[in-house]
Amino acid sequence: MPLDTSPDTDDAALLARYGRGDAAAARSLTVRLVPRVHAQAYRMLGDTAEAEDVAQDAMMRLWKIAPDWREGEAQVSTWLFRVVANLCTDRLRKRRGGNVPLEDVAEPADPTPSVEVNLQTRARQDALRAALADLPERQRIAVAMRHFDGASNPEIAAALSISTEAVESLTARGKRALAHALKGQADALGYEG
């Protein structure tokens, strides 16, 4: 896969070029965006194959919307973040069948230390993913953008079309809901004194 041949061109301009039939723009966007999209999907799903499916699906939606994309209305990266977050949430909810309580997320059981650590890490991540999937969409995206993507308040505000001031409150509500959902498992997951 060739490198990004237009590193100084922003995503929206590349997308506009793609919309006019520029194959080089498609290559640059692929190289630039797929690693980010895949990483986000992997963090939320914890499964390589599923993360790849989500990444391909999200990028397909981007290609399809390209001719109608209006520069200046939204950032391509934040639009994609939202698409990936929603695709992952759909998969997490299907995976859980909508009825499996958080308490049923696997806990570490293997006595071998390294395996135990791995299993515990896996259990923590699964529990967090399940709790994130249960958050309302805006809270989930705000928390994920802040903590997984390192996004600033203005970036989150732009992604969600809300004021910068509202981001703090939204993130705080999301984290309170996460804490409430996970507090019964925190001890078992190793977050204890």
Partner: protein
């Protein structure tokens, strides 16, 4: 991950949990994924110059009828029919347009006056 999850430092253990997740190793996308995404991009790519603009309904109708010359023929035929219709009115009278009882039975009886002549 050393604090108890009580209410006071609820944010601390949750932040730690989120940070652990954020810092976990993430594999890079495979070459196969990159190739699939690029293949999708090429398949979905509009033709050079951009996608053709959408055609308004009225233009689709004109095109469906056979173009402007066909539409002109239709208009001419309709106008001719209208004029012929007006000419017919001169024969029967414009009142025929709104009178239901235009038909006069007496004129049928004395058609050409032959019935009177024959007694």
């Amino acid at each position: 991950m050393t604090r108890p999850p009580d209410r006071r430092d609820e944010a601390a253990w949750l932040d730690e949990m989120l940070d652990d997740m954020a810092g976990a190793d993430v594999p890079g996308p495979s070459a196969d994924l990159m190739a699939r995404v690029l293949a999708d991009a090429v398949a979905q790519m509009p033709p050079p110059g951009g996608a053709p603009a959408s055609v308004p309904l009225w233009r689709q109708i004109v095109r469906g009828l056979g173009g402007w010359s066909a539409v002109g023929g239709l208009v001419a035929a309709a106008a001719t029919g209208f004029v012929v219709g007006l000419g017919g009115l001169e024969t029967v009278g414009a009142d025929a347009l709104w009178l239901d009882t235009y038909y006069d039975s007496s004129s049928a009886l004395d058609a050409f006056g032959w019935d009177y002549e024959e007694g």
